[in-house]
């Protein structure tokens, strides 16, 4: 009996939807699904992607890497410490509560207490409420990247997340390994609400009827997200029509997708630099800049980009991708095997030496194959490399312990600014300040340190650019690390999706604005 009613009901709904001719569903396959419904539980691309679907940030990056207002209608810099944000009025959360300055303040405070986000929000002092819809974000030091950081502020429904839940626990608690109210309940301002969620299997997002942004052209009413970890399977699902949109797309399948009839491929050069670090504390030879240069000259990164990445990557010679303020256009890739051999001879290692190398095998696009290729390239100048690759869960521990003489790391600047690369990857490692946390090469140059600190509070744009380009130049001349490439971002979907307008260099397609023809 119940089954028949269910079926009848389903038919009714289908008829209704057909009658309206409106309901559009997007079947989306990504490599992973959100680990939680709480946007502050983990800082990762996947969680930010999710935040853009169910929340809205104060401001967000556009396709042209400029910043546009979302919940903040406009903003103005009052002084070098403060930016005033004017919120849109009448924005409703999924719960029905209205967005006010209190929610923004509450959210910034929660971010500052979150393990993952507190680093980014370290320069921030407590926000100041001006009136119901106006709030001042204040930093402790002059901070040129305030607006960039505001892209991480997705105001949460402070009334909804305050108080205690039926288990008597604080609703605002950020819990990584156990139940929490925020892990399982959601109230944002975003276009979609989560109506069904089976972790690791699927998430269903339904359109929120009271969504504030009625000017968006987006017409997707429902998104069904299925995580498909295996890249080849993900592509097969798109080609067989099982899903409508996939991200990311493995480079080896891009040609095939481009040639297929019903699907399209959209790519954009990315900003995550893939590098190898040469540990000077473990290998004496790496202390010699000539040896490091020899290694940079020996690694055919153009070949890796062309063959392993199928031309879907931009060959790198520095940290900052084109478009970043610190990008130094004078620096070019330097593959030259003869020069490399000559440098090795000059450095006194004509016969080479033996080193170990570790790399992850499920973190970056083709990471394992890239490591393997780099290892055999070093073999050509007599450096015998013992390579071990491992899943990322094991990798970062080993990376921190610096067990490999050469270690792979890819880095994307959270602030979309050059300084971030240097703070984490190239400043002298210092346990107290936390700088150089991922500098497993132990490269240390006081000039680089000085410049990196200086640009943090330099608000004169022209000066900042000059300083950051100089930093890149020094790292290049010192061969501080081996730059490989910036991997392309890639999305693919059926032809009737207007993908191009919604994608951006941050790799967060704004699905709220997606148009299905």
């Amino acid at each position: 009996m119940r089954k028949t009613t269910k079926i009848l009901f389903a038919i009714l709904i289908v008829l209704l939807m057909a009658g309206l001719g409106q309901a559009k569903t997007l079947k989306l396959a990504m490599d992973a699904d959100p680990v939680s419904l709480d946007p502050h539980v983990q800082l990762s691309g996947g969680m930010l992607q999710y935040s853009h679907m169910v929340f809205d940030p104060l401001v967000r990056w556009t396709k042209e890497t400029t910043i546009e207002g979302r919940l903040a209608e406009r903003w103005e810099r009052l002084d070098e410490f403060t930016v005033r944000f004017y919120l849109k009025e009448g924005v409703k959360f999924h719960s029905g509560n209205e967005l006010t300055a209190d929610d923004v303040i509450w959210t910034v405070n929660r971010l500052k207490s979150s393990v993952d986000f507190k680093g980014i929000f370290e320069p921030f002092a407590a926000p100041v409420k001006v009136d119901m819809y106006t709030v001042d974000l204040v930093t402790k030091v002059p901070y040129p990247l305030l607006l960039n950081t505001a892209t991480y502020i997705f105001p949460m429904d402070s009334k909804f997340y305050s108080g205690t839940d039926d288990r008597g626990m604080d609703k605002a608690a950020i819990v990584k390994t156990d139940y929490s109210f925020a892990n399982e309940n959601l109230s944002g301002t975003g276009k979609y609400r989560v109506t069904e969620r089976q972790q690791g299997v699927k998430v269903i997002f339904d359109k929120f009827a009271g969504y504030w942004d009625t000017s968006s052209p987006g017409n997707v009413d429902q998104i069904i997200l299925t995580p498909i970890k295996n890249a080849a399977t993900r592509v097969a699902a798109l080609l067989s029509g099982g899903v409508d949109f996939i991200m990311p797309v493995p480079p080896q399948d891009m040609d095939r997708i481009e040639n297929a009839d019903n699907v399209q491929l959209v790519t954009m050069s990315g900003t995550r630099i893939i590098t190898l670090q040469l540990n000077q504390n473990r290998v004496d030879a790496f202390k010699d800049p000539k040896v490091r240069q020899a290694i940079v000259y020996a690694v055919n990164n153009a070949g890796i980009a062309e063959k392993l990445m199928k031309g879907r990557a931009t060959v790198g010679a520095q940290n900052s991708p084109k478009g970043y303020l610190g990008h130094n256009p004078a620096l070019t890739p330097r593959y030259d095997l003869n020069k490399a051999k000559q440098l090795m001879e000059e450095a006194g290692y004509p016969k080479g030496f033996e080193v170990s190398m570790i790399a992850p095998n499920n973190r970056y696009v083709n990471d394992e194959k890239i490591a393997e290729a780099a290892a055999s390239m070093l073999g050509k100048i007599g450096i015998k490399v013992n390579l071990k690759t491992m899943p990322k869960a094991q990798y970062w521990d080993q990376f921190d312990a610096q067990v490999g003489d050469i270690q792979m790391i890819g880095w994307h600047s959270d602030t979309e600014d050059t300084g971030n690369f240097f703070e984490f990857l190239l400043m002298c490692p210092n346990k107290e300040t936390g700088y150089g946390q991922y500098n497993s090469g132990n490269y240390c140059n006081s000039e680089v340190d000085r410049l990196t600190i200086a640009v943090q509070s330099e608000t004169d744009q022209a000066k900042r650019i000059a300083m950051m380009q100089q930093m890149e130049q020094i790292a290049y001349d010192d061969a501080a690390f081996v730059p490989l490439h910036w991997q392309d971002l890639s999305w693919a979907g059926k032809k009737n999706l207007q993908i191009e307008p919604i994608v951006n260099v941050m790799d967060f397609p704004y699905f709220g604005d997606l148009v299905i023809e």
Binding site: A231, A232, P250, Q252, D253, E306, I358, S376, L378, K388
Partner: protein
Amino acid sequence: MSALATFRESYLWYSFKRDKIAIASLLVLVLLFCSAIFAPLIAPYNPYDPEMIDIMNSEIPPAWEDQGSREFLLGTDSQGRDMLSTMIYGMRISITIGLGAVLLQAFLGVLIGLFAGYHGGRLDAIFMRAADVQLSFSYLMVAIFLSAVLQAVVGVSRFGEIAVPFLILVIGFSQWPQYARTVRASVLAERKKEYVEAARVAGFTSPRIILSQIFPNTLSPILVLSTIQVANAVMSEAALSFLGLGMPIDRPSLGSLINSGFEYIFSGAWWITILPGVLLVVLVLSINLLGDFLRDVFNPKLYKG
């Protein structure tokens, strides 16, 4: 004793001559083993020599395909390595692991089987129970455990160097009960026979009786079992490498080759997966066929399963 051996040998030879499948599979097997042993002489390239690998040669299809090249008969993989050479070297690793693991299994299993069977009692019960438990846990679980332990002991970065002995250890340790059970069964059958009684009465020590009297009689089931187990060990290694728990990518076995090509199968570079796959099947199949033939000839009582 020697008369019996001669008889068996001649019977073996007699049946072998009449069995075309057995002849064919032995020929194939000899061919494969020889190319594995003499890999450095036979393979056109040395896949471990970085001088011979150029990334710019990657993913060239086999010579008979449109974009194939004569330089690389079976094409190249994603690193630009010659597939034929990589496969031959990969098979060498697979066979080494297969044989090594079986030797270890046989050593452990025969030892345990002989003594447990001969002495019986508590020792026997404990070992056989352990065998049951061990058998119900597949080698995969054992391998995951051991690989974790070993990586902790030797350090992750040096794991590549010990991957071969490690896999031998894992597959060897997880399969000894097969031998122990088979040997124990034959020991139980032999123990009651008169010649053993006679030896005991004559005052021989039990290790001596076991080794010199009983052990030779368990040889034929061991031989038959061994062929099957080599095939199994090669397959186990392939499965482990396929899951990324086996050989590292720069010293690939057939299993890790199949794994590394899996991503490419949809994009058209089928040869990176299919060719090593075919070689693996041919290798295992010829061992299995030979094992089947031996089983028919000796008709031993094997422990089933």
